[in-house]
Symmetry: C2
Subunit: 241 residues, 2 copies
C-alpha cells in the first residue's frame, strides 16, 4: 500500500481512510479502492472485480492509483450495500454496527457524533459542524431568554423568522427549496451560521440589559439588532449600506 | 398525550422525544413509553404489551406517566431491536435509515453528526461534543505546527503523551482502562478537553513565536507550557502549587 503511494503520489493523488482496522485507498473525489474495500469486508482473491461487484448490484468506477492502469472504485454507499449483501463475518460485523448506530442516533449519542465528524477529512466541514452546534445552542438560549422576559405565543416564531430572513435574505421555506435541504441550518454556510449565532446572542443580551418585558419590547430590540447586524455584514461584503 | 402531561406533570416527570413524526413519552431516566414506541413503529391495538414485547425478545420496565398506574417502558436499544424484528412499513423505514446511517458514518457526514447531537436533551453533553471537536482540531493544528518546525519521528507521540499525562495525571492507556473507554477523548470531561485544547494551542503558538527548530526545542517549549498550565489548574482546584 505504501508502495502504491510512493510510486504514484506525485502523479495520482491518493489519500487513505479506514474501514475498521483496514486501510483503504481513496481518490481525491472520495471514492474507494474496490479491492481494499472487499478485503476489509473479508472478501479476497476476486478475479473479475467488476463482475463480482455487478453481481451484488454495485457498479464501479475506475481510477489510476499509481499502478499505471485504472483500478475499480466504489462509493461509500456501495460499501454499505456490500456490507448488507455479503455473508462474511466482517460484513456481519458492519451490519451489527449499523444497528448499534441506529440506537446511538435515537439516543443522541454525542460520542458517535464525534466519531462521525472525525471521519470527515475536510477541516472546513468539521468547522461547519462546530458552527452548526453553536448556532443551535444560541437559538435555544435566545428562546429561553424570550420566555423568561414574558414572550409568548407567536413571538418565538416571529423572532426566529426575523433572524433567518435577515441572514438568508429570504424566508426559511424558500431557502430550504433553493439549497435543497430539509433542515434550514443544514443548508447554511459556516459564515451564515456564525451571523445567526452572533445576532441571537446579541439579542438575548439586549433583552436582559434593557429588562424588556413582553412581545412588543422583545421584538423591537431584536428588530433593531437585525438592522444593525445587516449593516455590519453589508460593509463586510463591500456593499453600500 | 397532553392530557397525560397536564394531569401528571407535577407528580410524574414526563418529557418527550420524537421517533420520526411521532411524539414519544420519556421517563426522567430516558426510558420510553412502550405503546408510544409501538405506535411509532406502526403497531397498534396490542392487548398485552408485556407479552407482545417478550415475544420479540424485549423485556420492559414500568413507569407511572400520570395515569395512576405503571405503564410499560423500553430502552432506546429495544426500539432498534423492534425496528429490526417487526414486519411493518415503519419498522422497514427505520431499517433503511440504519443502513443510510452506516453510509453517513463511513463518509463522515457532519449533518448526521449534528442531527445526533441535537437529539440529546442534555445541554451539558452537547457542550461536551463541542469541547471534544475543539480539542481534536487543536491537536491537529499542534501536530502540523510541530511538523512545520522540523519535528520528526518520536516527537509527535512524545508531545501528545506529555499533554495527556499532564491533564489526566496518568498515561492514556491507564486512563482508558480507568474510565472504560476505547478512545481517550471519549473518557475526558469537558473541562479536561478544554485544558488540552488550551495547552496545545498555547504550545503551537509558543513554537511559532520562538521560531523553535527540531525535536529538542519543541519538546522544551511544550514541557514548559505543561508545567505552567498545571500550576494554573492546581490553583484553580485550590491546591498548593
Amino acid at each position: 500500500m505504501n508502495n502504491a503511494l510512493d510510486r504514484g503520489s506525485s502523479l495520482h493523488a491518493v489519500s487513505f481512510t479506514k474501514l475498521g482496522k483496514h486501510i483503504v485507498r481513496m481518490t481525491p473525489d472520495g471514492r474507494l479502492h474496490a479491492l481494499d474495500v472487499l478485503a476489509a469486508l473479508g472478501v479476497r482473491h476476486i478475479e473479475n472485480v467488476q463482475a463480482y461487484l455487478a453481481e451484488h448490484g454495485v457498479s464501479c468506477g475506475f481510477y489510476d492509483f499509481g499502478e499505471d492502469h485504472g483500478e475499480e472504485t466504489v462509493a461509500w454507499q456501495d460499501v454499505t450495500l456490500l456490507a448488507f449483501a455479503l455473508k462474511t463475518t466482517d460484513a456481519k460485523r458492519w451490519r451489527e454496527r449499523a444497528q448499534a448506530m441506529l440506537t446511538g442516533y435515537l439516543s443522541g449519542d454525542v460520542t458517535l457524533a464525534a466519531e462521525i465528524a472525525e471521519r470527515n477529512p475536510d477541516s472546513e466541514r468539521r468547522r461547519w459542524l462546530s458552527a452548526r452546534l453553536e448556532s443551535a445552542e444560541a437559538r435555544k438560549r435566545f428562546m429561553s431568554t424570550v420566555a423568561k422576559h414574558g414572550g409568548e405565543g407567536d413571538v418565538f416564531r416571529l423572532v426566529s423568522s426575523l433572524s433567518n430572513r435577515s441572514v438568508l435574505n429570504m424566508n426559511s421555506a424558500a431557502f430550504r427549496r433553493e439549497r435543497g435541504v430539509r433542515d434550514t441550518r443544514d443548508g447554511m454556510t459556516a459564515a451564515e451560521l456564525m451571523r445567526l449565532t452572533y445576532l441571537e446572542t446579541a439579542s438575548a443580551q439586549a433583552i436582559e440589559a434593557h429588562a424588556a418585558r413582553g412581545n412588543d419590547e422583545i421584538l423591537a430590540l431584536h428588530r433593531k439588532n437585525v438592522d444593525n447586524e445587516r449593516k455590519v455584514w453589508a460593509t463586510a461584503l463591500g456593499q453600500a449600506s
